[in-house]
């Protein structure tokens, strides 16, 4: 830098009156305090500079902290919005799937035996045990898997709701009558009252007696 200044000065020496330049350099720039006599709003001094610099540093600090806090808030808000959006999108789908796979709650047929609904649920899917405990007269009945029986019951229930005849539906679609099914596996909804309107025909009493191991006392 000094070398550059010397070169500059040398060039000046070649062409310009150095005495005039020296006279100009003899003037001293006015001090800041002398030019700050215009009024309080014009005050220009190191005190006001330091005061304003400190104030601005504080402002910058507060702004920086605020930016960090807002960033955290935005992050949490975005997470919350994503969660709500996911719930809104998936909830109808989940409800639809749940409705589709929900099976009607089974209850024991009145008059069978007093069991709790939990026992009914546990006992229903085990037809093999039921068939082993069934009396000899019931061995001729076709074995029905629990899943198939549940399907049949579901179809019967749906048909009933649609206004059809359960017995006709069973006969038409499964080629079986109610009598051929093991009654120990019968289940019905609580609001589905057993239709006892059909008269008992000859031979039903024997079948019923053998099925439930009843003792008929002749009068």
């Amino acid at each position: 830098m000094n070398r550059s200044n010397e070169d500059d000065r040398q060039r000046e020496d070649d062409e310009i009156d150095q005495a005039f330049i020296a006279r100009l350099r003899g003037l001293t720039p006015a001090s800041v305090s002398a030019s700050a006599d215009d009024g309080p709003e014009h005050s220009l001094g190191i005190e006001s500079i330091l005061y304003r610099a400190g104030f601005q540093a504080g402002q910058d600090h507060v702004r920086r902290v605020s930016i960090v806090r807002n960033a955290d808030t935005r992050q949490w808000l975005s997470l919350l919005a994503a969660s709500v959006l996911t719930a809104v999108v998936t909830l109808p789908i989940a409800l639809g799937i749940g409705r589709h796979w929900r099976s009607p709650s089974p209850t024991p047929v009145a008059g069978q035996h007093d069991v709790t609904p939990a026992e009914t649920v546990n006992a229903a899917p085990v037809p093999s045990d039921a068939s082993s405990e069934a009396p000899d007269g019931a061995e001729a009945t076709p074995s029905v898997k629990s899943n198939k029986w549940r399907d049949i019951h579901s179809d019967w229930h749906l048909t009933t709701l649609a206004g059809g005849t359960p017995l006709a539906t069973l006969t038409a679609f499964h080629s079986r009558s109610l009598e051929t099914l093991p009654r120990s596996n019968w289940i019905a909804l609580q609001d589905d009252l057993f239709d006892a309107g059909d008269p008992i025909s000859a031979g039903d009493l024997d079948t019923l007696t053998a099925t439930f191991d009843l003792q008929v006392q002749p009068r």
Partner: protein, 168 residues
């Protein structure tokens, strides 16, 4: 920049910077204050604080001039005739009259006035002036020469050392 260092820089540079700012335009005090406030926030501090301050002050004044901001303040300040030089220098026998020099500088072309003030009283080299004014070093030097000749004719009409080559 630490406060102590800022205060020392203020003591060393503020008067020269204010004179350069006046040569560029008003409001010079506001521009100087703004430049020092920016220097306080500057991290890391510049290698040459005075050249940095001159650049920031000039850019600030040009920006205010372009955008018209503080025009009212500038017009009000123009009525108050700010002092460019200390009156003590008038006591020297060989010194020029400060007010006459101020008026002569004001009548110069803006670039000539800025280059002369930066070089004579701001003690900036032509290389530094070229960086501040975004021109070549030779352009800065030629501008200085032409401005000095114009002022010399004002204060000593008989002296014309280079035969009137000062026209721009």
């Amino acid at each position: 920049m630490p406060p102590q260092e800022l205060a020392e820089t203020w003591k060393r540079c503020s008067s020269r910077l204010l004179l350069i700012a006046r040569a560029i335009g008003e409001p010079a005090e506001d521009a100087v204050q703004e430049a020092f406030l920016r220097l306080a926030r500057q991290t890391p501090p510049p290698d040459d604080p005075f050249a940095w301050l001159v650049t920031v002050t000039r850019n600030q004044l040009l920006q205010w001039r372009r955008s018209g901001i503080r025009r009212r303040r500038r017009e009000r300040d123009s009525d108050q005739q700010p002092v460019w030089f200390d009156g003590e220098s008038q006591q020297m026998e060989s010194a020029l009259d400060a007010q006459e020099v101020t008026e002569a500088l004001k009548r110069l072309d803006a670039d000539q006035r800025q280059v002369i003030v930066m070089h004579l009283w701001g003690e900036l080299s032509f290389r530094q002036i070229a960086e501040v004014m975004a021109c070549s070093q030779s352009t800065a030097h030629r501008t200085f020469q032409s401005g000095i000749r114009a002022m010399q004719r004002k204060f000593n009409p008989t002296a014309d050392p280079v035969g009137g080559r000062d026209s721009k």
